[in-house]
Amino acid sequence: MVVPRCAFVGRMRFFAAALAGAVPLCAHGEPFYGADVRYAYDDNLTLASNAADRRSDSLLTAGGYLGQFFVPSRDDTVSVSAGVHATGYARFTSLDETSLEASGTWRRKLGLGYAAPWIALRADASHDDYRDGIRDSDRVEITLVAGTRLSERFDVSGGISHDRRLARNAVPVVPGISGALYDVVGDSLFVRGGYAPTAKLLFDASLRARRGDVVATTPEGLSIFLASSAIAADPAFGPDRYGYRLRGTTTSASVAMSYAIDERSAVNVEFTYASTSAAAGLDYRESIVSASWVLRY
């Protein structure tokens, strides 16, 4: 069931070809590129309910992308991009991953001027290759978002998204129960607001609610076993650990501060707190704090 290495190389070629196909469009669009480096600490990587089952770790992600920006009309803009990100963990190195990503956004302004409300449709896709093969997957997320700028300093937006993660590997451990642990699907509702007190500083806050599949890693347990729709061994966190796919609702809140180094780059710090209520009474909390540097040309 494990995807051969040559298939991964083939997908890389596909992304490269997609990107190369966008190059001839340069004549009609504007190329852009960006890079980012992010350090984060996650206090509950296993999404476990019991304190004893929680595993925390810090991670470092770095990557870049390039794309094209098109202006088909006064009110419409389109951007497409492709990129790659690599993530390394300090302790749980089985979670190290490389992602090939593609993204497309269509945005329509409903009027003239910076304060005109807008709507946007965004599609993100990625091909994620983990050191631990059970997590190898392809992801797709479709987001519909609307927003408006209330002034030069305030802006708000909100929307819905549908995410789907397709596991490339399935290793069943229980007959009759799927081993495709990372075949997950979910729907989200979110709102965010930004306030820039100065030209350099931006405060950002967001709230999100997601209903969908979550994967928690714990030792064997009857109640979580009965509530799971997929089960697989999860050696990334230890030989006696199993991943359980459950249906749950996650509500999360994020606050962030962004400081513009110049008009092309910024450093951001962000804190996210998430609370999940899943089947079988599995409730867990997760906090992530991160610092990042982002560049966009």
Partner: protein
């Protein structure tokens, strides 16, 4: 007879030349902390309307370079036209909602077909509907005598006739009104008058261009 004429010429010529020698106003604009203020427009309006009427509208230009208006502040004499050449690879859609001039240049690359006539004094705030952070200002002066401060906060209005002028200053971030900065300056022939304005400035109100925070789902 010839000697008399030569005497009169030698005596009067310098006096006539001095009477016609142009005068200059050298303005310095600083903020509340005495730091120099760039991009301030200093305008001198003669109390003699006929002097102001001697100005000639011109064909001006304001570029878009790297998705910014360059220069950010452009003073022009009323009746002048301004072209908006787009030097970027991406199209721009320039507009203004300002009462002094409402206009829209539909999405274009390169040079738009027609320049825009600015026939009413006032401040015209420019924007681009594609790049919300782009902001520029055209100051339409009712007087032909104006200048913009450089990075040292200095501006020189030269070739002024010997008259009385009302001098005032405008800046995009000034908190007070332009009218409150009015000063009366009486210029003698060939005089160089120095004048300093201290402005209270607010932080720049502008849509941020730098990248912000990207939120995504976490699943």
């Amino acid at each position: 007879m010839h000697r008399s004429l030569l005497f009169v010429f030698l005596v009067l010529a310098p006096a006539v030349a001095l009477a016609q020698a142009p005068s200059t106003i050298r303005a310095t604009v600083v903020d509340a902390q005495s730091h120099p203020v760039a991009d301030a427009v200093v305008v001198a309006v003669s109390t003699d309307p006929s002097v102001n009427a001697n100005g000639h509208p011109r064909a001006e230009s304001l570029d878009q370079i790297d998705k910014e208006f360059v220069p950010k502040v452009k003073p022009v004499f009323v009746g002048s036209t301004v072209a908006f050449p787009n030097r970027d690879n991406v199209r721009h859609h320039v507009y203004s909602f300002s009462p002094a001039k409402r206009f829209e240049l539909p999405l274009y690359a390169g040079m738009p077909a027609q320049p825009v006539l600015f026939d009413k004094p006032g401040v015209v705030v420019l924007g681009c509907n594609i790049h919300d952070w782009m902001i520029g200002y055209i100051y339409v002066s009712e007087s032909p005598f104006y200048a913009k401060t450089d990075a040292r906060g200095r501006a020189t209005i030269a070739d002024l006739p010997a008259r009385t002028f009302i001098v005032r200053v405008w800046h995009p971030q000034m908190t007070g009104s332009e009218a409150d900065t009015r000063r009366e300056v009486k210029l003698a022939p060939g005089e160089h008058a120095d004048i300093t304005f201290a402005l209270a400035l607010a932080p720049e109100e502008r849509v941020r261009r730098a990248p912000g925070v990207e939120h995504g789902s976490h699943y």
